[in-house]
């Protein structure tokens, strides 16, 4: 950095004269440096988009009030209600009070904060409301090349558009509210390339579970991931979001996929995407974002997508994962393995297929989009959910719900015996009372199988919507390829 004047590092300016050697992360980072980092101070990084929700924002607004501060750019912030909100229709639209008083208070507090500071809020009855990471992309609020943050670790989802998107704590939420900036040290870069093509029945969820199984749940700590290769290019935007969503489950705060024609055609018709001349300008910029051919990453791994299978977790973190057709590994005497299996009530070396399940949850910011519901419905059509199994289907947003109902997916779920709910985080995190009973097995399309994640004592098996649907029909962990082959 010696000899560089600060204004040479401003967006659009060349840095160091080294052309064609930058990663996508590096480009987006440098374009958002208000003040570059030095040995003594982190970079001041500009934040284009800020998403807030009821759970991690109240204490940040309190700090603003205590210090007599205003919001710098309320126009760059969107608020929604998702984490603690009910999914029962009568509690949202029917005038029935929200069952959990503390949740109702948190929602009321968000309303008050948004009104006072001028933030646009999608309130409980809004047809734009939904899980924060579903509505950003759906609206076209999420765009390539942006910096996007939210007080939620699954903000990595938005990286599917080639944005630098990461989760922050509540203190940092306050920093963004007050200054539209964050103090950040530059992370390292990690390229994950997946060649080949996914086989039938193998989904984006299986892909990311395989990647986490490969790198481990701390493998991405300190890195921004870039997912590359033929498999990533072949994925739809919704599938790319599923992959980027779980970057944090590999320890990485952010995961990115370079934008391409798939990205642009997804965005083109979104209500908050740039229009007309602004679209053309944006497109020209977005086309410059992909990592240069000679860009160097701090770490790289390569996987063969053709060899991947439907995956499912057996333990208490997302890295404890096996093929649905496989067996739980035998790592007895490893205290963490033993503790996890004791919690799960499963046995080393046993086949995971055939394990009885009590609850099936289809939804969340990982797998609560329209294509996820379609794939589950396609499998469930004409089937009944096994006796004694409770199945809950929760669309990721009210727009997803509306689109699914327009296609009749709700009827397929209801006819199969599932509950069809209003949108929200629901049973992924269990804050709104949608929980799994102690000791019960839940096959869930969400992102975390930590102890108690879906309720105290709940035992979570993470899998794709296809695997969840197949398991719902049989009442046991089932390889979805059993259904696909006829």
């Amino acid at each position: 950095m010696n000899g560089c004047r600060v204004d040479e590092l401003r967006p659009g300016a060349a840095t160091h004269g080294i052309a064609n050697m930058k990663t996508m992360f590096q480009k987006v980072w440098e374009q958002h440096e208000v003040v570059p980092e030095t040995a003594d101070t982190p970079a001041v990084l500009y934040i284009d988009r800020h998403l807030i929700h009821e759970v991690t924002s109240p204490q940040a607004f309190t700090v603003l009030r205590e210090r007599g501060l205003t919001m710098r750019r309320p126009d760059r912030t969107l608020a929604t209600i998702d984490h603690s909100s009910p999914t029962r229709t009568d509690q949202i639209f029917g005038g029935v009070p929200i069952a959990i008083e503390s949740a109702a208070e948190q929602i009321a507090q968000l309303r008050k904060n948004c009104a006072e500071f001028g933030v646009e809020l999608f309130d409980l009855k809004s047809d734009q409301r939904g899980i924060v990471h579903i509505i950003g992309p759906e609206l076209g609020f999420t765009q390539p090349g942006q910096t996007i943050v939210c007080g939620d670790s699954h903000t990595s989802t938005h990286g599917a558009f080639g944005a630098l998107a990461f989760g922050i704590g509540t203190t940092e939420v306050g920093h963004v509210l007050a200054t539209q900036c964050l103090l950040q040290r530059r992370p390292r870069t990690f390229a994950i390339t997946v060649h080949g093509a996914l086989s039938p029945g193998v989904t984006a969820k299986d892909l990311i579970l395989s990647i986490i199984g490969e790198i481990g749940i701390g493998g991405g700590t300190g890195y921004v991931l870039e997912y590359r290769g033929a498999v990533m290019r072949s994925l739809s935007m919704e599938e790319r979001m599923t992959v980027c969503n779980m970057s944090i489950e590999g320890g990485a705060r952010a995961g990115m996929i370079a934008p391409d024609e798939t990205t642009y055609s997804y965005l083109k018709t979104r209500p908050r995407a740039p229009q007309r001349a602004a679209w053309e300008r944006a497109l020209a910029h977005w086309r410059t974002l992909a990592s240069d051919a000679d860009a160097k990453f701090d770490r790289e791994i390569t996987l063969d997508g053709s060899k991947l299978e439907p995956m499912i977790t057996y333990g208490t973190n997302p890295g404890m994962v096996v093929a649905v057709s496989g067996s739980i590994p035998d790592k007895r005497n490893d205290p963490v393995f033993d503790k996890a299996l004791a919690y799960m009530g499963l046995h080393a070396g046993a086949r995971i297929g055939g394990q009885p399940v009590n609850v099936v949850f289809i939804g969340s910011c990982t797998n609560g989009r329209l294509s996820d519901l379609r794939s589950a419905a396609q499998l469930l059509r004409g089937h009944r959910i096994a006796r004694g199994v409770r199945a809950l289907v929760v669309p990721g947003s009210q727009q997803v719900k509306k689109a699914a109902e327009a296609e009749g997916l709700d009827r397929i779920f209801i006819d199969a015996g599932a509950e069809w709910r209003e949108s929200g985080c629901s049973m992924c995190i269990g804050m709104n009372g949608d929980t799994v009973g102690s000791g019960d097995y839940s096959i869930s399309t969400s992102n975390r199988n930590f102890e108690g994640r879906q309720g105290p004592g709940a035992r979570t098996l993470l899998a794709s919507p296809l695997t969840a649907a197949a398991s719902a029909v049989r009442g046991r962990v089932t390889d979805p390829r059993d259904f696909l082959s006829g």
Binding site: S84, I168, R448
Partner: protein
Amino acid sequence: MEPIRQIRSRTAVLPYTNIDTDQIIPARFLRTTTRAGLGQQLFADWRYSADGAIKPEFALNRPETVGCAVLVAGRNFGCGSSREHAPWALLDYGFRAVISTEIADIFRSNSLKNGLLPIEVDELTGQWLLEHPGAEVAIDLDSTTLRLPNGNAVEFPIEGFARYCLLNGVDELGFLISRQREISAYEQGTRP
């Protein structure tokens, strides 16, 4: 925030890797609009049975860990969600520092902003600490040194600006606000 210079304490040890924020404070306790009083729910599902009874075998329920200000845990402590309630709960309970061979990114960032020291040590030191619960350790933030009762002293990494803020009781928001001029210039000179 109060300046932090030195912490001397016995250690409490949780000998598990990958302790996630859902264990540190389960999600059902996040339905709050303040940061106060979360220490009661710290490690709630490990400390209490479903009926609320104390689990006497859990490390933090044993008399020898009462008053310990330093928590030692296995690799990848604080993984999972971005909830700042995790460091708030640890601080409210009485912890001032967490030691592990690896600390998850968001948890580390959140801890530094609240005056909870996230201290990463090498494998040997981490192993020694896990095997010696109750060890009397001394953490010096000025020299970024952790002293063990066996006479060993190890340096620990900590981001320089965060260290400056902690030593001087300065918060980062004040620093960001002092850069208003640069922020305005950036906003005027760039894409919408």
